[in-house]
C-alpha cells in the first residue's frame, strides 16, 4: 500500500508539469492583459505599455515561462499582480471559506442523500420513490446560483434570519460563521445531495438484487439489518466515487455560489483573477486544483481498500 501511495504521489510531478505548461501557454495566448484592466478603460496605449513593461509582461513568452517555471521549482508560485502578495498566501487565505463551505455542504448533502437514497431503494417504485426521483432530478438540474438567490429572497430578505451575503471567519464566533455559510452550503448541498442520493439509490438496488441478500433474507435476517449491514456497506463503493468527485469539485471553488454569496473563497479568487488577467494567481490556482484532484482521488482509492477487503494494491 505504501508503495502504491508513493507511486501515485510521484505521478503528481508529470501531472503538474503538463498542467503548468499548458495553463501558462493558454493563459498568455488569450487576449487581454492586467495592465489595461488595472489602469481602467480610459487609459492611453502609452500608459498601458508603460505598466506592461514595469510588470515584465512585455518580455518574450518563453522567457516569462522559464522565469515562472524556475520559481515554481523552488516552490514559489510568484506574486499576484493585483493582490500585492505571494500567490501561495493568497490561495491559503481563500482556502478557509472554501474549505468551510465544502465541509458544511458535504455534511448536509450526505446527511440527506444517504438515508433518503437507501430508503428509496428499499421502497423502489413506491410513491416515496417517485417523489424522491423528482426531487433528486430537481437537485441535479437546478443551478445552485438560482437556488442561492431564492434562498436569499426567503431567508435573508423576507424572514431576515440570515445575512444576505458575506463571510464571517470562525474567529468572530461559531454562530456568525455558520450563519454566513448556511445559505450557500444549502444551495450547494441541494445539488450535491441530488447527485449522491441517486447513486446511493441505484447502488443499493443493485446490491439488494444480489444472491447474498436473498440468502440473508432466507436465513431470517431482519430488513433493517440487511439494509444497514449488507446492502448499504456494499453500496458505498460507487457512492464513495461520487462523493470524492463532489468533494474535489467543491474544494476547487464553487465559483458561482461563492460569487453570489460574496464568499472570498478559491472560486471567487479564480473568477476575479481571470477577469483581471492576474496570470500568477490563475496559474497557481489551477496547479492547486490539480493537486486537490490527485489527492482526493488517491484518498478515495485508499478508502476503497479499507471498505472492501477484496481490493488490494
Amino acid at each position: 500500500m505504501a508503495r502504491y501511495i508513493a507511486g501515485r504521489l510521484a505521478a503528481l510531478v508529470p501531472v503538474l508539469l503538463v498542467v503548468g505548461v499548458t495553463v501558462f501557454t493558454v493563459l498568455h495566448l488569450i487576449p487581454g492583459d492586467p495592465a489595461s484592466v488595472m489602469l481602467g478603460p480610459e487609459a492611453s496605449e502609452a500608459q498601458i505599455a508603460h505598466l506592461r513593461h514595469a510588470l515584465g509582461l512585455d518580455r518574450p513568452l518563453p522567457v516569462q515561462l522559464a522565469l515562472w517555471f524556475g520559481r515554481l521549482l523552488r516552490g514559489d508560485l510568484g506574486q499576484s499582480i493585483f493582490l500585492r502578495e505571494p500567490v501561495g498566501r493568497a490561495i491559503w487565505q481563500h482556502l478557509g471559506p472554501t474549505a468551510s463551505l465544502t465541509v458544511l455542504a458535504e455534511v448536509l448533502a450526505l446527511a440527506v442523500a444517504l438515508p433518503s437514497g437507501v430508503v428509496a431503494a428499499w421502497k423502489q417504485d413506491s410513491r416515496y420513490d417517485q417523489v424522491f426521483m423528482l426531487v433528486v432530478l430537481l437537485g441535479v438540474s437546478v443551478p445552485s446560483f438560482w437556488t442561492g438567490l431564492n434562498l436569499i429572497a426567503v431567508f435573508a430578505v423576507a424572514l431576515r434570519l440570515l445575512p444576505v451575503a458575506g463571510y464571517t471567519p470562525p474567529s468572530a464566533g461559531v454562530g456568525p460563521w455558520l450563519a454566513s455559510l448556511l445559505l450557500p452550503a444549502v444551495a450547494l448541498a441541494f445539488t450535491q445531495a441530488g447527485l449522491i442520493a441517486r447513486i446511493v439509490r441505484d447502488a443499493t438496488i443493485d446490491v439488494l438484487n444480489e444472491d447474498y441478500i436473498r440468502t440473508a433474507r432466507s436465513k431470517g435476517v431482519g430488513d433493517a439489518r440487511i439494509l444497514a449491514r449488507h446492502a448499504f456497506r456494499n453500496a458505498l463503493i460507487p457512492t464513495l466515487t461520487v462523493v470524492g468527485t463532489s468533494l474535489a469539485n467543491l474544494l476547487s471553488g464553487a465559483v458561482v455560489t461563492e460569487t453570489v454569496f460574496v464568499l472570498p473563497g478559491i472560486g471567487n479568487l479564480v473568477v476575479q483573477s481571470i477577469s483581471r488577467r492576474d496570470y500568477p494567481v490563475i496559474e497557481g490556482v489551477v496547479l492547486f486544483v490539480a493537486v486537490v484532484y490527485v489527492l482526493v482521488n488517491l484518498l478515495v482509492d485508499v478508502l476503497y481498500a479499507a471498505l472492501d477487503p477484496r481490493i488490494r494494491y
Binding site: 487581454g32 489595461s36 487609459a43 479568487l269 488577467r277
Partner: protein, 529 residues
C-alpha cells in the same frame, strides 16, 4: 508684472457665487433637503460593484479606484457640485499677466495621514509623477516648461505657452493629480503605489482582497469651510469607518441594502428601480451625470478611415432605440447631442444637434455609395460583461444592416475587448461608455493615441485655440466649444447614442446627508442606528 489675486478675487474667478457661499451646509441643488442633526460615529457600509485594481488614483482611470480613493486622497484643485474646478488643498493661486506663470499656495496646517506636513516638495514630486503616469498629466506637461518651489507651501508652474486648462486638468477626477508624500511618489515610480497616504477626511486602513476596503476617520483633517459640494469645500467625516464591500451581483447588493446589511448599494440595474421605489426604507439616487455610450470607429485602418462612412453610420442610427435597449425605461436615459452633460453648465452646448438623432436611411446609403462601400464585412466588438453594451449592439447591428453594411458582431469579455481594441487591424467599431469629462482637451477619444486613433487638424486647431483662451472670456469659450462639438458631428470619431443614467439606492432611515453626484461620496454623510 505678476497679477496677484486676493482671496475674494480668487473665489470670484473660480466662479463661486455669493449665494453658494451663503447656502445651508447640507442642502445641495437637486438633492434632498437638509436633514436632522448630524451624528458622529458608526460605520457606513457600502456595497460596491467592483474591486479596484489599485487605489492609486494617479495611476488608474477606473471608477472603482476613484470612488474609494477620493475619500483619502486629495489634489490641489477639485470639482465642485457644478463640475467646475475650485481649490482644494490649494489656498489660492495667482497668474501672471502673460498667463505663463501660475503661483499656487497651499493651505496652512495641512498634514498627510502619516502626520507629515504637506509641503511644496511633496506637491512637485506628486505632480511630476502624475505627468508621467496619466494621459491628462502627460498632455499638461507638454505645456509646462518648469516647476519650482517658491517656499515651503508655494510652488510656481511656468508654461512654455498659454494653456488655460491647466487648473482644470489639475482638478480632473479621471486620473487625479492627488498629492502624496514625496517619498511615496518617488518610491512608487511608474508602478501603482501600495502606500495609500493622502490628506483626505478618511484614511486608508485595510484592504482584504476579494472582500472589502476599510477607511477610517482622519481626526487631524483640516477642512475647507466653503459649501462648494462636489469633491471640494467643507468635508466632515462623521462616520468612524467606511466599509466598501465588493458585491458583484446587483441583486445581492439590492437585497443587502433592503435588509440593512449594507447602507448603500452602488450601481444597481436600472430595472430594479420599481423595487427600490416600492420600498419606503430605501431612497433611489438617479445619477444623471453618469455615462454616455457610443460606437467608436477605427479611424486608422479599414473602411471607417473614410469620414463619409462614419457619417453614414450616424444617419443609420436611431438613438432612442439604442438607448432603450441599453438603459431600459425612459427614466434612465435622455437623447442629448452634448459632448458634456447638461449639468456641466460651463461646457454644455447643443451645437451640431442637426446631425444627432436624425435617422435618414437614404442619406446613409448615398454616403455609402459615394464612399464606394461594396459590402466589405465590418467587425463590431461588444461585451456581455456590461449588459447595456451587449444590448445596444443587438440594436446597432440590424440598424447598420438595414442600410447595407455587412456586419460581423464579435462578443468578448471586457479584458479581451480592451486588448483587441488596441490592435488596428482587428476591428472597425467597438462599443463603450464615456464617463464625464471636464474639459474638451481631456476628452479621451480626442487623443490620437487612444483606440480609434482620431487625428484631425481641424480639431487640433480648435483645441489649441481653446487652450489659449482665458477662462474669464466666457463668450469666446462658448463659440469655440460650439465649433468643437460641430467638428465632432461632422468628422464623427464616435457615434454618440445618448446620455445614460445610473441607479444607486440607500437606506434613508439609516444614512443621512447623502447628495447625488457622478460617483458616490461619504463625507458629510452620517448614519443612525
Amino acid at each position: 508684472m505678476r497679477q496677484r489675486l486676493t482671496r475674494r478675487e480668487l473665489l470670484v474667478r473660480a466662479g463661486v457665487g455669493a449665494a453658494a457661499l451663503g447656502a445651508a451646509p447640507f442642502a445641495e441643488p437637486g438633492g434632498r433637503p437638509a436633514e436632522a442633526q448630524p451624528v458622529r460615529g458608526g460605520v457606513i457600509r457600502v456595497a460596491t460593484n467592483a474591486e479596484p485594481g489599485t487605489l492609486d488614483w494617479q495611476a488608474s482611470t477606473a471608477t472603482a479606484t476613484r470612488l474609494i480613493a477620493w475619500h483619502f486622497a486629495e489634489g490641489l484643485f477639485a470639482l465642485d457640485r457644478n463640475y467646475e474646478v475650485k481649490p482644494l488643498l490649494a489656498e489660492g493661486y495667482s497668474v501672471s499677466p502673460d498667463q505663463l506663470r501660475y503661483t499656487i499656495r497651499l493651505r496652512r496646517g495641512l498634514t498627510f495621514h502619516n502626520g507629515q506636513p504637506v509641503g511644496a516638495d511633496d506637491v512637485l514630486a506628486s505632480l511630476e509623477r502624475w505627468g508621467r503616469l496619466s494621459s491628462g498629466g502627460h498632455e499638461t506637461f507638454r505645456f509646462i516648461k518648469a516647476m519650482r518651489r517658491v517656499d515651503d507651501r508655494t510652488i510656481e508652474i511656468e508654461l512654455a505657452r498659454v494653456f488655460t486648462p491647466l487648473l482644470t486638468n489639475l482638478g480632473d477626477p479621471k486620473q487625479s493629480a492627488v498629492i502624496m508624500p514625496k517619498s511615496v511618489a518617488q518610491a512608487a515610480g511608474e508602478r501603482p503605489t501600495t502606500q495609500y497616504i493622502g490628506t483626505g477626511p478618511y484614511m486608508f486602513k485595510e484592504w482584504t482582497p476579494g472582500q472589502r476596503v476599510v477607511l477610517v476617520r482622519n481626526p487631524a483633517y483640516v477642512s475647507r469651510t466653503e459649501n462648494w459640494g462636489g469633491i471640494t469645500g467643507r468635508k466632515v467625516a462623521y462616520a468612524y469607518e467606511v466599509h466598501f464591500t465588493f458585491v458583484s451581483d446587483p441583486q445581492v447588493r439590492l437585497d443587502g441594502v433592503t435588509t440593512g446589511q449594507y447602507d448603500f448599494a452602488v450601481e444597481l440595474a436600472q430595472d430594479m428601480y420599481p423595487k427600490v421605489k416600492a420600498n419606503r426604507a430605501l431612497a433611489a439616487d438617479i445619477v444623471r451625470v453618469f455615462s454616455w455610450p457610443g460606437a467608436v470607429f477605427n479611424k486608422a485602418h479599414g473602411v471607417f478611415t473614410d469620414q463619409r462612412l462614419r457619417q453614414a453610420v450616424q444617419y443609420a442610427l436611431k438613438p432612442a432605440d439604442l438607448m432603450a435597449a441599453a438603459y431600459g425605461p425612459k427614466t434612465f436615459w435622455q437623447l442629448d447631442p452634448g459632448l458634456f452633460f447638461p449639468e456641466q453648465k460651463g461646457l454644455y452646448t447643443t451645437a451640431g444637434s442637426e446631425f444627432y438623432n436624425h435617422q435618414d436611411l437614404s442619406k446613409a446609403r448615398a454616403l455609402m455609395r459615394e464612399a464606394g462601400y461594396s459590402g466589405q464585412p465590418i467587425v463590431v466588438m461588444c461585451t456581455k460583461d456590461y449588459t447595456w453594451n451587449y444590448n445596444a449592439a443587438q440594436v446597432l447591428v440590424p440598424e447598420l444592416e438595414a442600410v447595407g453594411f455587412t456586419v460581423n458582431l464579435q462578443v468578448y469579455d471586457w479584458p479581451t475587448l480592451l486588448s483587441r481594441r488596441t490592435k488596428k487591424e482587428l476591428y472597425d467599431i467597438f462599443l463603450t461608455g464615456f464617463s464625464p469629462s471636464i474639459d474638451p482637451t481631456a476628452i479621451i477619444f480626442f487623443g490620437p493615441n487612444w483606440p480609434g486613433w482620431y487625428k484631425s487638424e481641424a480639431l487640433d486647431a480648435l483645441l489649441a485655440k481653446w487652450s489659449a483662451t482665458p477662462i474669464t472670456d466666457a463668450a469666446a469659450r462658448k463659440a469655440i466649444m460650439d465649433q468643437i462639438q460641430r467638428t465632432f458631428y461632422t468628422e464623427v470619431p464616435v457615434a454618440k447614442f445618448g446620455n445614460g443614467f445610473g441607479l444607486e439606492a440607500y437606506n434613508s432611515q439609516r444614512l443621512h446627508g447623502y447628495t447625488s453626484y457622478f460617483d458616490v461620496r461619504f463625507w458629510n454623510v452620517w448614519v443612525t442606528r
